[in-house]
């Protein structure tokens, strides 16, 4: 059976390759920092399932220290010039899209078919992880197709992956680090304290006031935690269920479904939602860290108002 572990090993091998390229790159003045950073990240993928959590945790903290003090560098990557790209685009034309479209195409196909596929009675892939595993397999097939089409030298795919990984840099690891922060917040009981503060200090005497505080609280707490999933249990247990549903008789389906979407409005406005707001800034090589958030704020604020009104008008419709 193909499990997530298979995908993690693939990812670990890719990172190990990136580490090697980084170590051999004399054009990067900080090459040993890059090597250490990607090397430790590779280890968490290759051996993470077997290492004691203490060792993984120590490595993660060491990675943050490497990235935080002095930072990662960038070498002079071995890639093509603009003119060469225009020339090869003219030559290859639309064939260039075959590997690119194989990724979503096969990911879709795999998601739809692999769930029920069996080999001699055992499932072919772990049924709980079909989407992620399909995506992983799709990228492998797409890579094979790209290599067959373009016939690059053997190390070129890893070198090109290194070029892109260096533009993303430490931001690649941030989403996982934030998940770890969320776990510590939960262990320390941050949510409980926040909900105590909200309910103690804000008078909630009318249904409308309760809805407004609940929706705004979802957005604000999501901005703090970077994740509406963390905000939801706090706000729903603090205000949603006891007040809006319990005291004022609101519909719990409306309160929770649209409340979660009010939280998503917060996700659009916070650097803590790293994989949506910080990673693309790095990936698109934007100089201003907040440029994606800035263009999202108007949409987010309008939708937050819309969601607040939707809860108010739909939850008490009887």
């Amino acid at each position: 059976m193909i499990t997530l572990e298979f995908i993690y090993v693939l990812m670990g091998l890719l990172l190990a390759g990136i580490t090697l390229v980084s170590a051999r790159d004399r054009t990067n003045r900080k090459r040993w920092k890059n090597t250490a950073f990607w090397g430790m990240y590779a280890v968490t993928f290759l051996f993470g399932s077997y290492l004691p959590h203490l060792a993984s945790g120590a490595m993660v903290i060491a990675m943050a220290a490497v990235a935080g003090f002095g930072g990662l560098g960038k070498g002079d990557p071995d890639t093509t010039t603009q003119a060469e790209r225009v020339e090869s685009a003219g030559r290859l034309r639309n064939r260039l899209y075959i590997p690119a479209l194989l990724i979503p195409g096969l990911a879709l196909l795999g998601t739809l078919t692999l769930k029920k596929a069996t080999l001699r009675g055992t499932p072919l892939v772990d049924p709980k992880q079909v989407t992620v595993i399909s995506l992983g397999i799709a990228t492998l097939v797409a890579l094979a197709a790209a290599v067959a089409l373009l016939r690059p030298r053997a190390a070129t795919p890893v070198r090109e992956a290194r070029r892109l990984m260096d533009t993303v840099g430490w931001a690649a690891v941030l989403p996982q680090m934030l998940a770890a922060l969320g776990a510590l917040f939960a262990l320390a009981g941050v949510g409980k304290v926040v909900s105590e503060v909200t309910t103690r200090w804000i008078p909630l005497t009318t249904p409308f006031a309760a809805v407004v505080v609940y929706a705004l609280g979802m957005a604000l707490f999501t901005m703090l935690m970077g994740n509406a999933f963390a905000a939801f249990p706090v706000m729903a247990a603090g205000i949603g269920l006891p007040l809006i549903v319990g005291r004022f008789g609101g519909d719990p389906a409306v309160v929770s479904a649209i409340g979660m979407l009010a939280g998503f409005c917060g996700t659009l406005m916070t650097p803590m939602a790293a994989n949506f707001n910080i990673v693309p800034v790095a990936l698109l090589e934007l100089p201003d860290e907040k440029s994606v958030i800035r263009v999202q704020v108007p949409t987010a604020l309008i939708l937050l108002a819309v969601n607040t009104l939707l809860i108010y008008f739909l939850a008490f419709r009887r």
Binding site: T131, A146, P175, L286
Partner: protein, 230 residues
């Protein structure tokens, strides 16, 4: 009340305001929160390691980098620009509006990994949106180019967030269902998913309208940026 545990929240806010390295800020905030919550240092480091390892799946998107990097090396973005520049009806706003629709619909069908910043936005969507603007306004000033890219990334986010909750088996719907069940309320996922539809429509109208307005404002922004460069 254990007010101390909020120290992590404070560190995160201060760190982002001072523009310190976020990876370091988050790590320090996590350690501080754990210690304030009464854990010892070993337990804090263990919690870090455990959660980091358990969440490795969020990094799977980086597996596409060899393919995307290789295709970029051979001119994928250049080919995309060339194709879009031939479609005269294409404007930045319309290109992004179409992507918003596709992203929302596929996410609503549970196909959340069909889009994304690494797989779609960098190699295809952002170059398409830039090329459409180039066809209209000629060579773009850098600030305008960056603005269009930011809009491309934002469109992927909005489409994903306000599409995926219509799908009954997505994480947030399952989380809500589990939470309500713990509190003695049983609701079928389909009922939760249905209530996500009004917001999905509103999101399409609001963000879509902003994308069409962007088309109008791009001309003025190109003018202004050029005047400033002179």
């Amino acid at each position: 009340m254990h007010w101390f545990v909020l120290v992590g929240v404070v560190i995160v806010i201060v760190g982002f305001v001072l523009r310190l390295n976020p990876l370091l800020v988050v790590t320090v905030a996590g350690i501080a929160t754990g210690l304030a919550g009464g854990l010892d240092l070993v337990a804090v480091v263990e919690a870090f390691g455990k959660s980091f390892i358990e969440n490795r799946y969020v990094a799977i998107v980086w597996l596409v980098l060899p393919v995307i990097g290789l295709l970029e090396r051979y001119g994928l973005q250049e080919r995309t620009r060339e194709l879009v520049s031939r479609v005269h009806a294409a404007t930045t706003g319309r290109v992004l509006l179409s992507y918003l629709a596709v992203r929302q619909i596929t996410a609503a069908l549970g196909l959340t990994s069909l889009g994304g910043h690494a797989q779609m936005v960098r190699p295809l969507i952002a170059p398409m949106a830039e090329a459409a603007a180039e066809t209209k306004h000629g060579d773009l000033p850098l600030t305008v180019r960056e603005r269009i890219r930011a809009y491309a990334a934002a469109t992927d986010n909005v489409g994903l967030f306000f599409g995926e909750d219509i799908f009954i088996a997505i994480g947030s719907i399952l989380l809500i269902r589990g939470f309500l069940e713990q509190n003695g309320i049983t609701i079928e996922p389909i009922h939760l998913a249905l209530w996500a539809i009004p917001t999905a429509i509103a999101a399409f109208l609001v963000h879509g309208a902003r994308l069409l307005l962007l088309d109008r404002r791009l001309a003025a922004q190109v003018e202004a940026a050029r005047a400033e460069e002179r």
